[in-house]
């Protein structure tokens, strides 16, 4: 029934549809440019080399954290444990460093716990078929608890930020090295998403998991991989944050929760409308970082920024629904 209606509508309004598609595809980039222009007009310091480096550095950390999340949501599932996995990776690294091991071991273990958490998510969701929201709320809670327990409820100081710290704070002109690395990651992911069958399978999973299975694709293994990948990405970001902040912060997760989901979902509203994709996520992450930096300079309070982000997310969803070609939700939730 839906098919009949949608083809009919497409045939009737093909012309206006094309304009709508362009607005739907690129409004986020336009918003980003407008926002940069407005903030740069109000506060020219926004475009200082050091400030650009700060914006790009925080964007890079954020982008690495939610790379896996982008694909999880693109596959029609949800992961609300990513920020707590990052916190766990962060605290594991800090805890190991504090108890005397080297950076290599600590960082590896930090990433490994992320992989384990992702494996737990993936097993429960892909193999046992339990609703992803419930599973990831629960695993997120467990990760947060372990992270807090490692530091007995407070943060752990790291004496030496090591090689990673040097890497994080090395800039090439206004561009931090870590941003280049993150950009490379995204380039590879973009290739995998757009040019390999892998990417098609991800978006196919969101459409019809059963059909993907019937087509002979190991849908469960793919889903399992996506969750493990998301766990690893979050944990890498957590390890980097440990080096960046020179400490392990058990509560670091909560500040990334809204931002991470907002970035992925806003990103899902450009290019491939209603489908989270890596280029969209990159744009949205930059948008949020510029918003944070710019609004801090203009003197907005934290809560005002929170309201703006919420409104941005709502408007974004509404715009995508208005101009997009599909009216069904990007996330099936349960």
């Amino acid at each position: 029934m839906t098919d009949v209606i949608s083809t009919h509508a497409v045939a009737e309004r093909r012309h206006s549809k094309a304009i709508n598609r362009i607005i739907g595809r690129y409004w986020l980039v336009a918003t980003l440019l407008v926002m940069i222009a407005v903030f740069a007009f109000l506060k020219p310091q926004l475009l200082d080399n050091s400030n650009i480096a700060t914006i790009l550095r925080s964007s890079a950390l954020m982008a690495i954290m939610i790379l896996g999340l982008t694909w999880v949501i693109a596959a029609g599932k949800i992961d609300v444990s990513f920020m707590q996995i990052a916190a766990l990776g962060n605290m594991t690294t800090a805890w190991l460093l504090a108890s005397g091991s080297g950076w290599a071991l600590a960082a590896t273990c930090g990433v490994a716990v992320g992989a384990v958490a992702g494996l737990l998510n993936g097993t429960l969701i892909a193999i046992l078929g339990i609703p992803p929201l419930i599973v990831t709320i629960a695993t997120g809670g467990i990760c947060a608890s372990i992270a807090a327990a490692l530091g007995k409820g407070t943060s752990i100081r790291i004496a030496d930020a090591g090689l990673l710290g040097d890497l994080l704070f090395t800039n090439w002109g206004p561009v931090p090295v870590i941003a280049v690395i993150a950009a490379l990651f995204y380039l590879i992911s973009w290739y995998a998403q757009e040019k390999l069958t892998f990417g098609h399978y991800i978006f196919a999973l969101a459409q019809n998991e059963k059909a993907v299975n019937e087509a002979g694709i190991a849908a469960r293994s793919l889903l399992l991989f996506l969750f493990v990948f998301s766990g690893i990405c979050s944990a890498i970001a957590g390890v980097l944050l440990a080096a960046s902040l020179s400490s392990g912060q058990p509560m670091i997760g909560s500040s990334y929760f809204i931002d991470g989901l907002t970035a992925v979902l806003l990103g899902g509203l450009m290019l491939r409308i209603g489908k989270p994709n890596v280029l969209g996520t990159t744009t949205a992450v930059l948008l949020l970082s510029v918003l944070v930096s710019g609004s801090a300079m203009v003197g907005w309070a934290d809560y005002q920024r929170q309201i703006v982000k919420g409104v941005l997310l709502l408007v974004g969803v509404a715009v995508a629904m208005q101009f997009g070609h599909r009216s069904s939700s990007p996330i099936q939730g349960a």
Partner: protein
């Protein structure tokens, strides 16, 4: 999926639940005899009231097969609204009505956006939750409100006793009784279930499914206000994060109850809330650090969902075919 009405399965599940309550109670009493003291039981009933009220509204949202991640933010907003009204010297009932109204507006916004405009539920509620959480700061720029709390009479809500137990517990039981009759013995309740099970056939059977979905979100917002009023009454101050702690226990209560009793229902939520509250209260009595409690609740939620989910699949093979598309499809073909 005829989950209701199969008497033997229901009885077994109820007995299993009763045994679980008994075992948990016995285990806590063995470690800490104070668990059975009147003081602690009174505390359990009081905490259960807050958790249970928030979970009740969420139950309705889950029954119409949606998720609401905004009610914690909404509760923060209405807590500050109530605090602001109390500080302004208004009558208590007027203050609570203002809080209910504030939450109902957010709930109605959620409901209209999701049911009438077809926006995805998780994204929309994350956004509105973020906005409501930000709006909570508006009244006092984030400062704690405590003026007039002692004279307003809100503290009496916490201290009121009936038969030695806090009045809020009896309010909880009364509200659950009303909700049970409404949800499981009237055609309106049946319409809620029909909307969740199959919105298309419900719609063509004359159920205004959109209205029911919207009502579920409004009721969810309102019950979270009742919960936060109890929290305000207990603490005697209004903070911007007063409702944030409601999210985890409410989800755990709804889904643990659903796992234990084989389906989301008002009684299942009550059962789940009882278990969760016993555990949380028992651990805090034992002096377990606060940061473990979330992890324990999450772990129990996860185990409960996994264990009982396996049994659900054995008992209802048609549900199994729903969850495991590959095996069922091949079986049907051969």
């Amino acid at each position: 999926m005829p989950k209701h009405g199969i008497v033997p399965a229901g009885t077994v599940r109820f007995l299993a639940f009763a045994a679980l309550v008994f075992i948990i109670g016995a285990a806590f009493t063995a470690v800490e005899p104070r668990f059975l003291s009147t003081q602690n039981i009174s505390a359990v009933t009081r905490h259960m009231a807050a958790n249970g009220l928030a979970a009740l509204g969420l139950t309705l949202v889950v029954i119409v097969r949606k998720f609401d991640l905004s009610f914690a933010g909404t509760a923060c907003f209405s807590a500050m609204t109530i605090g602001f009204m109390i500080a302004g010297g208004h009558d208590l009932w007027l203050c609570i009505m203002a809080g209910v109204l504030a939450a109902a507006i957010v709930g109605a916004f959620n409901g209209i956006a999701i049911s009438y405009f077809g926006l995805p539920d998780i994204v929309t509620t994350i956004a509105t939750g973020s906005i409501a959480g930000g709006l909570a700061f508006l009244y006092s720029q984030g400062r704690t409100i405590f003026r007039n709390f002692v004279t307003s009479g809100i503290l009496d809500l916490n201290d009121a006793r009936l038969f030695g137990y806090s009045a809020s517990f009896f309010f909880l039981i009364a509200l659950y009784a009303v909700a049970w009759v409404f949800m499981h013995r009237t055609r309106y309740g049946a319409s809620f279930h029909a909307t969740g099970e199959n919105p298309v056939s419900a719609y063509f059977s004359g159920v205004p499914t959109r209205t029911y979905t919207m009502m579920a979100f409004i009721i969810c917002a309102i019950t979270s206000v009742f919960a936060v009023v109890l929290i305000l009454a207990e603490s005697g101050t209004a903070d911007t994060n007063k409702g944030a702690t409601l999210l985890m226990p409410a989800y755990a209560g709804v889904f643990l109850g659903a796992a234990l009793l084989g389906g989301t229902s008002v009684l299942a939520t009550l059962a789940g809330t009882l278990l969760i509250t016993m555990l949380l209260d028992g651990f805090s009595l034992l002096g377990v650090p606060y940061y473990y409690s979330d992890g324990v609740v999450s772990a129990i939620l996860l185990t409960g969902v996994v264990l009982f989910d396996a049994r659900v699949r054995q008992l209802f093979s048609d549900l199994a075919s729903f969850i495991q598309p590959v095996t069922s499809a091949s079986e049907k073909r051969s």
